[in-house]
Amino acid sequence: MSKNLIVTTTINPDLLLKIYNSNIEELVKVVVLTLDYKPIELFNNRNQKSQRTNKLSMFDVAGLIVTTMKNPDDETAKPIKMKKMILAQDVSLLTENNVDLLCLGGTFDILPNDLILEKYKNIKEIKNTTLEELDKFLELPKNESSIKAYLKLTDYFSVKNYFNNNNVLKLLDHKSEALNVAKKTLIKSIIAWQIRK
């Protein structure tokens, strides 16, 4: 079995089981969606001849669509394809000649499949989905919409506040809000990616 694609959880290796069990499942494909770059598609069985530059990319947050296959080699059993949508923090992607190594260096949430399925039914709905509606899939205070969070952020980056604010914990709040906004945008990207296919 050729392995061009490896996924690890570097903080706690046991957490990988939440995504897939590499003993009985095989990775087929991972799509990495980020805020700054185009979607990156990684395949397990890639043409090895293609020459690529070595690259190490780091992302604060990334949306991952992981496709795995159960029983890939077993002829008696039916292969089962599984798809998982993940929001991960502190993701690094190392691209070498033959290998793509994706490391999740922080916490990650697996999005419920229902979320995507529901949205599939009516594409019109998607266009009208506000970010607030996606709030419940993140551990966010319910009374605060992402728009509000975003406004707070821009507030914070006003010149006056930037110089006065030296309290770490306030900074922490702002950072987590920024992360949440980023995650919500990524949820939309994930859904959009699914629909485009």
Binding site: T10, D14, L56, S92, T107, L171
Partner: protein, 329 residues
């Protein structure tokens, strides 16, 4: 106490002994599992650290490890963690923590506490507590390491503090000290490096298990990267800051796993003590049992003896009565 009661007691004791044995096996199994996790994390941490070090050695001007500049005042931040439950042992640990706090931490240092006890303690000593979190934040590991890493990241980048240490209320038995880890700045000497021995790793049976295979691949790839031929995206400083974040999280995770192992070891020791006590009790019981049986047999022989004497005088010996007496004694 008669033989019947003694026998019952002995049965109970042997049941408890077996129970303790089973518990010991379970604890041992857990220790093994935690040890495996610890090893994995240490391998990963060491690999990450070495990789960052390689980049730092290559481009020393970038100061990827945030070494303090000359003349810079140290501003320290401490994370204090409560014991997970309060019992006889954790009371001792809290005392140790108090000693450490009054000795090492000054009122100029920043303190962030997790849990009520350490918070009260810090306030009594009039330390500069900038935030108190509930202990649950610590128990949920993923969130905890993310939170602490974020605080360190933001605080150090904004020059609020430049040295960070975490202190857990668990004793490291080999050193008889509380578990402490320096989280910032990352320093080669203060990081417990566990080098990865490829040959040994391949021989080990544990290689079969899922995680080690992934860990193995990770280490092999990262060890063989030629850093001069790499494109950093978006840039190397961002990479370094993220990598440091990850290493800090790994150190926290490692410390927590270590604390768990020490806790389990303690449990194991207590079980062993319990077993020894039970064994002592059992010995005593057996001695008692033998003594009583001896006494009974002397009574029996006396009875038989007297019965013979009686039978010499009378033709009908009351054997049945003797049997009844035996059963009731």
């Amino acid at each position: 106490m008669n033989t019947k009661e003694l026998k019952e007691k002995q049965n109970n004791l042997s049941f408890f002994l077996k129970y303790v044995d089973v518990s010991k096996i379970i604890v041992l199994k857990n220790i093994n599992e935690e040890n495996r996790k610890l090893k994995n994390i240490q391998y990963l941490k060491t690999t990450n650290f070495n990789f960052l070090k390689k980049a730092n050695d290559k481009w020393p001007d970038l100061n990827l490890f945030d070494k303090m500049k000359k003349g810079e005042q140290p501003k320290k931040l401490y994370f204090l963690i409560d014991p997970e439950k309060i019992d006889d042992i954790s009371v001792i640990m809290l005392k140790k923590l108090q000693e450490l706090l009054s000795k090492n931490i000054t009122q100029d240092d920043y303190v962030i506490t997790f849990g009520e006890h350490s918070n009260l303690m810090a306030q009594k000593l009039e330390l500069n507590v900038i935030e108190k979190f509930p202990l649950e934040y610590y128990t949920n590991l993923d969130h905890f390491s993310d939170l602490t890493a974020s605080i360190i990241d933001l605080g150090t980048k904004n020059n609020i503090f430049n040295q960070v240490e975490i202190i857990l209320s668990n004793i490291e038995f080999s050193q008889n000290e509380l578990i402490k880890r320096v989280l910032f700045p990352l320093d080669h000497e203060k990081i417990d490096m566990v080098e990865f021995d490829e040959k040994k790793f391949e021989d080990e049976e544990v290689m079969e298990s899922l995680n080690n295979k992934d860990v193995y691949n990770f280490i092999k790839i990262y060890k063989n990267i030629d850093i001069t031929k790499i494109v950093w995206e978006p840039n190397i400083t961002f990479f370094a800051s993220q990598m440091k974040n990850i290493i800090i999280k790994q150190i926290i995770n490692e410390a927590k796993t270590k604390a768990k192992i020490e806790q389990l070891r303690l449990e194991f020791k207590l079980l062993e003590e319990k077993k020894n006590k039970l064994l002592e009790k059992q010995e005593l019981l057996i001695r008692n049992f033998n003594r009583i049986r001896k006494e009974e047999s002397t009574i029996q022989s006396l009875l038989l003896h007297s019965a013979f004497k009686v039978s010499e005088q009378e033709p009908m010996p009351p054997l049945m009565n003797i049997k009844d007496n035996k059963g009731g004694s």
